[in-house]
């Protein structure tokens, strides 16, 4: 049962990811990406990472993709026009062909004997245990990512100011 869920989520994640790069309308691509993220979130839950599963939905779909769709709506994007040259079309099909090739290649070459979803401690991946790690052993990473977010915030404020571009001092 569990392994069927694994393969089902995986198949849908890959299918939605394909849709993201094949659909011409950016908003449709964004929606397909939401589907892919939901499947990956399901995989996280199956792999004993319930906290990450929730965080994935809360931050990736609930915040980041909402921002993406918001910007798409703000700019009111039209469908991408076909203005490709010949070599771009060829490159497109070559790139798409490479994916199944890479799939087969990695299935042949990768060989990990370890199993996913084996028995683990009861609270593995729970809010409590990840929080202990995040604020214990890896507190430096935590602090650095908070600084990164602060810098991003300041950067966005600077970037979106109108005056700074028109008459730089």
């Amino acid at each position: 049962m569990t392994s069927w869920l694994f393969y089902g989520f995986s198949a849908f994640a890959v299918a939605f990811a394909y849709l993201v790069i094949l659909l011409r309308n950016p908003i449709h691509s964004g929606l397909a990406l939401i589907g892919s993220f939901f499947c990956v979130s399901g995989l996280f839950v199956l792999m004993h990472a319930p906290f990450l599963g929730v965080i994935q939905i809360l931050i990736y779909t609930g915040a980041i993709l909402v921002l993406f769709l918001y910007v798409m709506m703000l700019l009111n994007l039209k469908e991408q026009q076909k203005e490709d040259r010949l070599w771009q079309t060829v490159a497109r099909y070559v790139a798409l062909l490479l994916i199944p090739l890479g799939w087969m290649f990695s299935l042949k070459v990768l060989n990990f004997q370890r199993l996913v979803s084996r028995s683990l401690p009861e609270d593995f991946g729970s809010v409590h245990s990840v929080g202990q790690q995040l604020l214990g052993s890896y507190v430096l990473i935590f602090e650095v990512s908070s600084v990164v977010l602060l810098v991003a915030m300041i950067g966005v404020v600077v970037l979106t100011q109108k005056k700074s571009m028109e008459n730089p001092r």
């Binding site: 691509s29 700019l75 771009q88 490159a91 683990l120 970037l159």
Partner: protein, 101 residues
């Protein structure tokens, strides 16, 4: 049937390849950003699978960090997209071929 780490790593690799192919074949900025998100997600998946297989929670910490970085990247990237739209009236990456702003 039991899921081995090989299968999860393969899934992660395939998602990574799809994201990479998307960056090459799509020409509008926002979809390229979406493809970057797919790649980050593939990395997250690999981290979680390895964390699960080895019983080590560092993978989860890494994923939390990656998500935070992705949020920062999305904010900066989208503000640049809005800037680009107001300057060039185009979302196409090919219109970004000049060196002077």
């Amino acid at each position: 049937m039991i899921v081995s780490l090989t299968h999860m790593m393969t899934l992660s690799f395939v998602l990574f390849l799809i994201g990479l192919a998307g960056i090459f074949i799509r020409r509008d900025v926002l979809t390229v950003f979406l493809c970057v998100e797919i790649i980050l997600n593939a990395a997250n998946l690999a981290f979680v699978a390895v964390a699960n297989a080895f019983g080590d929670e560092f993978g989860h910490v890494a994923v939390v960090t990656i998500i935070a970085i992705a949020a920062a990247e999305a904010a900066i990237g989208l503000s640049m997209v809005i800037k680009l739209h107001s300057d060039k009236k185009s979302m196409n990456l090919s219109s970004l071929n000049e060196l002077r702003g």
